[in-house]
Amino acid sequence: MAERLSNREGIKGMANPTRYGIERFAYWVQRLTGLGLLAYLIGHIYETSTIVNGKIAWNQMLELTQTPQGHILLTLVIGMCVFHTANGIRVMLGHGGIGVGKPGQPEYPYKAASLNYKQRLCIWVSIALAALAMMYGASVLFGD
């Protein structure tokens, strides 16, 4: 049957983090932060490459980035980086079959063992670490 009639959810459905629990939310944030970090990396290479144009160009770029908006952006990057790394380690271990529970006899109400408290705890710890790092980063960036 034509894909047009397939009722496939598409990107909107893929990117909807509000259903299916915190694991789906973490999946969504991992993608978003991955793309955010990629954008930052490209921007960062552009920013630092101004040094080949000499000291004046470099200093002009620094003036541009060392503004309150620049600091907010960097704080966000810190948060994205910490969440992506911490949650990324959870995801990589999970992909290797580590920490996803043990098969057994399913019992009503059939709670899935792979959606266990260790997984949820790791997601919350990733969020907490990101928040802490952002607070510390912001205090360094904005404090004088």
Binding site: M1, E3, L5, S6, N7, R8, E9, G10, I11, G13, M14, A15, R19, Y20, G21, E23, R24, A26, Y27, Q30, V91, G94, H95, G96, G97, I98, V100, G101, P103, G104, Q105, P106, E107, Y110, K111, A112, A113, S114, L115, Q119
Partner: protein, 258 residues
């Protein structure tokens, strides 16, 4: 019947609580016939329900009393055949296994499952699911699998059995595939249902067909497309936990697990 006016404090907090008495809900059924070019619209029906009324029973009430043309697939009415998967108030679930009372809402909306072609109304096409399931070679592969008068049974310990038992409970309802974020965008993805079944046989120590199966799933639209978002396991009505099966299988393929 004597009616005793309830004191305000005794009134139910919301009108969504469904007690032993009959309550009336609004059942919104998505009607569509895409192959005839008919876009989806919602038909609304007032349906009496009791504490134990299932969503499937509410739909059948509509068919019996208001509009028998509503297309819905069901058979066992006891979460065994895997026919009645649909989106109930936005989430994939079995209509026969979901009580109206557990939805805590006086409005129940039923739609066809996502990521499957719609045949009509609530009935979706399982061709892709079944063909992907078959690609997993869902049977024990070994030279001597034909039982002859001389052959003995294949002995398995309870521990051997536990390695695959839960995955063999799959009823092919497709709820996992409709919740999966990869399935939402990749039309060639095998899907959690098929991948979990591949592991069901890989983990069975009577089976000798691992290599054949692994060749099928070691594909760019195969197991590596899983991001472990866990949504499949969230909606599975049988405790199969496809997300676990997929990660264990990937761990096996990567050499982290035996």
């Amino acid at each position: 019947m004597a009616v005793v006016a309830a004191k305000p404090s005794e009134e139910p907090k919301s009108n969504t609580k469904i007690t032993g008495q009959t309550n009336t809900i609004t059942l919104r059924i998505s009607r569509s016939n895409p192959s005839e070019g008919q876009e989806s619209t919602f038909a609304e029906f007032q349906v009496p329900v009791q504490k134990w009324t299932t969503v499937l029973e509410a739909i059948l009430y509509v068919k019996q009393n208001f509009d028998h043309s509503v297309a819905v697939r069901y058979s066992c009415r006891q979460a065994s055949c895997g026919s009645c998967g649909m989106k109930i108030n936005g989430r994939p679930a079995l209509a026969c296994y979901t009580k109206v009372s557990e939805l805590n809402s006086n409005v129940v909306t039923v739609e066809p499952m996502n990521n499957f072609p719609i045949i009509r109304d609530l009935a979706v096409d399982f061709k892709q699911l079944i063909s992907n399931h078959k690609k997993m070679k869902p049977f024990i592969i070994r030279e001597d699998s034909e039982v002859t008068p001389e052959s003995k049974e294949f002995i398995q310990t309870p521990q051997d059995l536990e390695k695959f038992l839960q995955f063999s409970y799959c009823i092919k309802c497709g709820l996992c595939n409709s919740a999966c974020p990869t399935m939402a965008t990749d039309e060639s993805f095998i899907g959690p249902q098929g991948l979990a079944q591949a592991y069901r046989y890989v983990a069975d120590n009577r089976d000798k067909g691992k290599d054949e199966r692994l060749k099928v799933i070691d594909d760019s639209h195969g197991i590596w497309r899983c991001h472990f978002a866990g949504s499949c396991s969230h909606v599975c009505p049988k405790g199969v936990d496809p997300a676990m099966a997929i990660q264990l299988l990937r761990g096996y393929m990567l050499g982290f697990r035996k």
